[in-house]
Symmetry: C2
Subunit: 305 residues, 2 copies
């Protein structure tokens, strides 16, 4: 173990989108902007800013256009934005979004509840968006949700997961993020699924997206690192959850991820103190406490060891 000492890890901060979308208390656009500025100051170069969905579906994302427009052109390039369909894509494109994230899930039931489409229908929708995005030179990131477990179907098919990941990569998507949507995977499952995926997929095209519902996220990340994964999604303070996935609590906290990487001696470019400042700000906005033990420890007066 631990042969990867000097490797660099890329962290995709998903707090502004995945972290906030499930929060009932609406955060003002101004506060979101301030949060994102703090994240940029903390060193993140990839921040999932928002989602171009119907306001009625996810009210927290209703200010997507306004929020995106607040940033400079250079900064905007660092913001992947979620796009559920052609309408969302067109809005994003017209605003000058440089990177979009598309998503499907390896479970039929979850897809139905989440986007009211079968897996097959979701691919058709995405196919059309991909073609348009390519014309514009817009970068595309892919998500496959319920990669290990579905809240409705239980254990999901790794075969289907691989099929969907390959579908993305064959279409020139630069990276597929593998989501443990309800945070139910354990390290051995992560090891085995990645072992299988790596048979046909280069590991540097994969990212892992863990939720920490059952406290296994850091052990799962450690296992993923051992399998060669170098990109992880996380959210400041451990914000998050999914309205369509019972029991899905927050994303793994960026603080926990960064602390693990520090402990392993791996590069990441994020400043912990500034990250905690960003989390403190957004937690105050939504009136919640962080579930991250790293946040709890270092937002107090303890030395950073």
């Amino acid at each position: 173990m631990f042969d990867h000492v000097r490797d660099r890890v890329r962290v995709v901060e998903v707090g502004p989108r995945d972290g906030l979308q499930n929060e009932k208390k609406l955060v003002s656009t101004q506060d979101k902007e301030a949060f994102v500025q703090l994240l940029i100051q903390a060193g993140f170069h990839s921040i999932e800013l928002t989602s171009f969905v119907k306001a009625s579906a996810i009210p927290q994302m209703a200010d997507a256009q306004e929020l995106f427009s607040l940033f400079s052109s250079e900064t905007k390039a660092q913001f992947p934005c979620l796009v559920p369909n052609m309408k969302g894509f067109e809005t994003a494109r017209d605003l000058g979004v440089k990177e979009i994230a598309l998503f499907t899930a390896s479970s039929e039931s979850f897809n139905q509840k989440n986007i009211r489409a079968s897996i097959e229908e979701s691919l058709l929708r995405m196919e059309a968006v991909i073609q348009e995005a390519k014309k514009e030179g817009i970068r595309i990131r892919g998500y496959v949700s319920t990669a290990f477990y579905c809240p409705y179907e239980g254990k999901t098919s790794t075969k289907k997961l691989i099929e969907l990941s390959e579908w993305f990569l064959e279409r020139g998507i630069y990276e597929v993020s593998i989501g443990d949507t309800i945070g139910a995977a354990g390290p051995k499952e992560v090891w085995n699924v990645l072992e299988e995926m790596k048979q046909s997929i280069p590991v540097d095209r994969l990212a892992m997206h863990f939720h920490d519902t059952r406290g296994m996220a850091i052990a799962n990340i450690l296992t993923s690192l051992e399998q060669g994964i170098r990109v992880f999604d996380s959210s400041a303070g451990g914000l998050g959850g999914c309205p369509y996935a019972k029991g899905a609590t927050g994303n793994v906290a960026s603080e926990d991820l960064i602390y693990l990487l520090d402990k392993l001696g791996m590069e990441h470019g994020i400043k912990m103190e500034a990250l905690i400042e960003a989390s403190t700000f957004i937690l105050k906005c939504i009136g919640k406490e962080s579930t991250s033990k790293v946040y709890q420890t270092f937002s107090g007066d303890l030395d950073y060891v």
Copy 2:
């Protein structure tokens, strides 16, 4: 990784002692007995029951004699009890305690604050107790605290840790528990320290005792498993902390440990539902919430996957 699928892990439940000793709200002897009975029903065969210390030093342990006396002779054999000095030992021996736990630390400053003795003095004290205990056929478990970090000195000496562990084993102590007292170790440090320890110490004589202060405990346990460790200390619901170690929050929760072992397919003999019942009971007694995400998830209405 994960070649240890069918191995059995022994879990030492330290909730009644390490978990409660730092709680200001005194738990009645009756409630402690009920808690321990629930732990026994959950399947634990090794429960650190109490500590024979001066009541003035740790008021929560003032009922050590009364508590121990409440159990049947057969049950008592499953209770290691902490013994800080000869006086505590004599009390324990006269009561019929079958197993004692002795402790020192690899940091001079911590030993001074914790037991007002240098490391050398602590060895002298323990030497005398060990000789007496052996005469009576009493089993002995050893602890080395601050195995990775000390709250006063920072990173501690692995050489000293090994020296102290060997000291115990040379004297016929059946097992040494290696304590990350302030919960500051990371997986790579755990890997490296164990790698060094294994040069001179058989891994089956070692147990790991993690605190989850910075959320790394489960990743550290996973790493220890990979290094061949098969005994872990944990406390129901993640109770705990140390009055002499700033920033030492609870032990790793037994729920988190058991869940990890289940996820790895390893044997342990603990029933999760009954464990959660025990934790719920004691948490109610002290008026606290569990910090364990596994507890939080499964004390709700979620299916166990």
